[in-house]
Symmetry: C2
Subunit: 354 residues, 2 copies
Amino acid sequence: MKLKIAVLSGDGIGPEVTQQAIKVLNAIADKYNHTFEYEKAVVGAIAIDETGNPLPDETLKICADSNAILFGAIGDPKYDNNPSAKVRPEQGLLKLRKSLGLFANIRPLNTYDSLIHKSNLKEEVIKGTDFVIYRELTSGIYFGEKKLSEDGTIASDLCTYTAEEIDRISHLAFKAAQVRRKKLTLVDKANVLESSRLWRKRVTEISKEYSDVKLEFLFVDNAAMQIILNPTQFDVILTENMFGDILSDEASVISGSIGLLASASIGKHAAMFEPIHGSYPQAKGKNIANPLAAVLSAAMLLDHFELYDEAENVRSAVEKSIELNISTPDLNSTNHFSTTNVGNFLRDFILDDE
Amino acid sequence: MKLKIAVLSGDGIGPEVTQQAIKVLNAIADKYNHTFEYEKAVVGAIAIDETGNPLPDETLKICADSNAILFGAIGDPKYDNNPSAKVRPEQGLLKLRKSLGLFANIRPLNTYDSLIHKSNLKEEVIKGTDFVIYRELTSGIYFGEKKLSEDGTIASDLCTYTAEEIDRISHLAFKAAQVRRKKLTLVDKANVLESSRLWRKRVTEISKEYSDVKLEFLFVDNAAMQIILNPTQFDVILTENMFGDILSDEASVISGSIGLLASASIGKHAAMFEPIHGSYPQAKGKNIANPLAAVLSAAMLLDHFELYDEAENVRSAVEKSIELNISTPDLNSTNHFSTTNVGNFLRDFILDDE
Ligand SMILES: [Mg+2]
Ligand SMILES: [Mg+2]
């Protein structure tokens, strides 16, 4: 397969970790005879520094011309600590999502046996956790009409969903469930909200096209409990924007290794892959940042193009590195390895495994 | 102090557990020379059976004429399993909240040393957890305008808050913080929502009247993480209706003993106290239901009238019963005690302690 990949490594540790993801992708390309071409573009603070714009047109063009986007991280203290700054690095990411119509945010959650002790939850509760959250990303209350009365005493936000917005992410989520454990849980608040009732109606309708997938419903307040009470019950969770924001952040604590979490944001004609973690500016250039979330995001890229064996190979390499404690200081307090060391190990593991 | 207390014990195990709460309140009245007068009224399924209305006018009148309401539980399988039932027991509770203007829902969360092992979270994470959530209960998106387009393809819900709605619960929450550890965390999503920005503006303004209370802000998605990552950091959490619904249910898993959680719902002229747990119809009449949540709700009633020593006495009795394993089967799998036994122990502990 031939893929054009836009590389937006961004700020802070973004470039270092993204470089390891590319190293791993190149090893996969070698081993499985694919051609991955990369085109670099700036975004975030570095883009403001160079062009005054956190998402220059040139970057947007490169993304639009690519099959996929590898994204690093965004943010720099010099903008965070300046409340009067009109242009902020984060705007680059929001504008990118909007411009490319990335309507589905996908976050896998799973545990690693040798890291399970790091969780705040008990091992017997979380062992075997393996689910993925499909969060609608471009509609709902975050994007609805906002009003403030003239005297400033009444404020409102409108949460709107259309059937089309619900349908497109629902199909993605059902398809994901089909190649997983064939269970989909819609999280809503249909006992109270009209928009939730539309979600429930559409998803019930769409489920008829995926009769091999078992559909369940859960109210959002109960879901917030169940994620802690019994996380292994879930396979695919589908939900609207704000519920997904809250629940995916809550669920990120399960594994105890927030630094390892990957994500994808998918649109009709675009797909972006990025680690959950931030730009971690204190670690920039020190070769200590953990590249695994970036590498696991690259594995999601492979999954997206149905290169399932290749993605699995990357995940095996990551698991092996964790098992052997070939890890950066955040996971390994003694005799730790550098960002580059970990990337090299992953590359070698993939290539030697032939 | 003389108090008129309306007793709405409701359905299922409601009457049994409420009876123990009254037993405990009577012991407190004896010991501290108060006069508590009780007037019983029906609500829920039993009210539908007797009058056809889950909240008869007579009940509402008794509540309005009382200083406080002791509430049991609501719900009966004969209505739950009948989707065509037009009148539902739960409507009684919703109508009661609305009629009495109960705008603040208060949920304390804390751990008990001898039950801490029951939690899904590790002991070292939750030990010492002691916070209370103030949730706005009568406004926000649950009560906002709902719309469905004529063709059924677009649905919306409006989230509105007025300064007055924010102010009244904020004062309650700040006052609670003053007699606790003097820290208040406002949970919102002010980076995205106009209504959240109004919350932040009003709460910041009001905080000037409570200069001894430290005010912090947390976005709701981060709050959902922090409740699991570090629950001991919180003292008073203040938040809007839906965020409070999600976070209070999430937080209910911390202690591992959901059956022990109490709550209060406060209005300008009314105050209602109820256990979190449901009507548990399978246990009805078996004298096995755990009365502690109902008893702890009675302790919140005492707190509400600033009978702090009395409330503390009730809590000590509860702690002692747990410590001595004088508990119903849900907490004590061997040589367990009945609902009545536990109530008698609490009464005797309070009276003997003179
Ligand atoms: Mg978030
Ligand atoms: Mg709830």
